[in-house]
């Protein structure tokens, strides 16, 4: 192993079911149900997944859900907007923690 992340490892995702296959089966069953058409379409769910993939910064997920978004009919503008949503939440999350910073600073400052 000369790098922690290898693109071809994405295809080995199923190898995680080689041990404790009953847990893997439950996960895959749940995963499949989550991404099926429901109140949200598969395309919308793939866009959410793409945004989350950027938040958790998983290159495998980014690869997989870029393909999934395109296959399900999204285009680059829509996918870019999804990444901006992730970015806005991450940035907003930092900023809102600034309130905590202000609480402390205002309490102990003069």
């Amino acid at each position: 192993m000369d790098t922690y992340y290898c693109p071809h490892d994405l295809a080995k995702f199923g190898d995680m079911g080689k041990n404790r296959p009953e847990l893997w089966a439950k996960f895959i069953d749940y995963y499949g149900s989550v991404f099926a058409d429901g109140a949200l379409t598969e395309r919308e769910k793939a866009l959410i997944a793409l945004a989350v993939a950027h938040t958790v910064q998983c290159p495998y997920c980014i690869d997989a859900y870029t393909n999934a978004c395109l296959e399900k009919g999204s285009d680059l503008d829509q996918m870019t907007e999804a990444v901006h949503v992730a970015t806005a939440i991450r940035g907003g999350s930092s900023l809102v923690h600034g309130v905590q910073m202000r609480n402390v600073a205002l309490k102990i400052g003069m």
Binding site: D37, T41, E42, R43, N67, A68, L70, E71, K72, G73, D75, L76, D77, Q78
Partner: protein
């Protein structure tokens, strides 16, 4: 932008296309059938006579497997069109599916429609939508509606970016205008005038699930433009002609062929269109499908290979001629002119 043929591109020569596909190291399609315990492809009952009347088109789509365009002049003659109708008269084939190019621009289009309708056949017009907006085609929608012709129209995305990227700048806007006009005359409104849409992926990937795509199209087209339609067909891009040129130019040929082979779905094999279609070229040559036609692979294995031969022998049963491009019809949910298969 000129066609591959007009620009003398190496891929205008079908031998070069075969060579590039072979270079990917994809296994023989027939071998993969055998490995999956499936028989070689044979025709079942022929339900569709698909006639490609020529390569003239008012558009220059980036994925076109025909390499059609305004600079193409191949066109079916009246003599061949009469033979096509004679073929329909002699055989109990339920549907005449007319394609091109833009088939409506061919002088024989209305003759074929009129005669097939007189014979009581269902007629499909594979329409690029923008042809309906051309100055000389103002009467086309009423003409099609009177004869209850099914309009199967290409719209790769319900958004402008995707549609224009694949079909050319400004095509989306004109397509929406054409769809509005079709709706106004009853198409896609559950009046018996059928308006189906065709989705092709805008790039080197497989289409998503047809039912899910249809749901998105239906909601988005209705909410954004007030447009209704009947069904959506999701069709995989074939790695031939202009789409192959895109794959080559973008460095995606190997990965796309790998994807098609890796996604081979044995369940899709039973429904591939070559088993129920007979494809006629503009010059009267016969093929197992429109893709074989564009790869210059006429019907083989001893079956009649021209309309004249078929009129003489009458035998529609044949073994299908396959190639590496066939993986395009069996990948994922499968693909045919009627959309997903599995």
């Amino acid at each position: 932008m000129p066609s591959l043929q007009a620009s003398r591109h190496p891929l205008a020569v079908t031998d070069e296309q075969h060579r590039i596909l072979a270079r990917t190291g994809a296994p023989r399609f027939d071998d993969v059938l055998s490995r999956n315990g499936l028989p070689l492809l044979q025709t079942a009952r022929i339900e569709v006579l698909q006639v490609n009347v020529g390569k003239l088109c008012n558009q220059m789509c980036a994925h076109c497997h025909v390499d059609a365009g305004p600079d193409r002049r191949e066109a079916m003659s009246s003599e061949t069109a009469r033979k096509v109708i004679e073929l329909l008269r002699r055989h109990d084939i339920a549907t005449l599916d007319i394609t091109g190019g833009a088939p409506e621009l061919n002088p024989q289009f209305r003759f074929l429609v009129d005669e097939a309708v007189k014979l009581g056949r269902r007629v499909i017009d594979r329409c690029n939508l923008t042809v309906l907006m051309l100055p000389g085609q103002a009467d086309l929608i009423p003409y099609l509606a009177e004869r209850r012709v099914v309009v199967t129209a290409s719209l790769p995305s319900f958004r402008q970016a995707g549609t224009d990227a694949q079909r050319g700048d400004g095509i989306f806007e004109k397509s929406i205008a054409a769809l509005e006009r079709l709706n106004r005359l009853g198409y896609g409104k559950r009046t018996g005038l059928v308006l189906d849409l065709v989705h092709n992926p805008v790039g080197a990937f497989l289409p998503g699930k047809q039912a899910s795509l249809e749901r998105d199209y239906r909601r988005e087209l209705a909410s954004r433009y007030g447009i209704d339609f009947d069904h959506l067909h999701a069709i995989t891009n074939m790695p031939i002609s202009r789409f192959l040129e895109f794959l080559e130019r973008s460095g995606n040929t190997q990965s796309y062929m790998d994807l098609l082979v890796r996604s081979f779905n044995p369940v899709a094999v039973g429904g591939v269109m070559c088993r129920t279609h007979l494809s006629v070229g503009w010059d009267g040559a016969l093929y197992d499908c429109d893709f074989n036609q564009m790869l210059a692979l006429p019907i083989d294995h001893g079956a009649p290979a021209t309309v004249d031969d078929l009129l003489a022998s009458g035998d529609l049963v044949r073994r299908v001629r396959t190639g590496l491009h066939c993986f395009g019809c069996t990948a994922g949910a499968g693909s045919s002119c009627g959309g997903a298969l599995a």
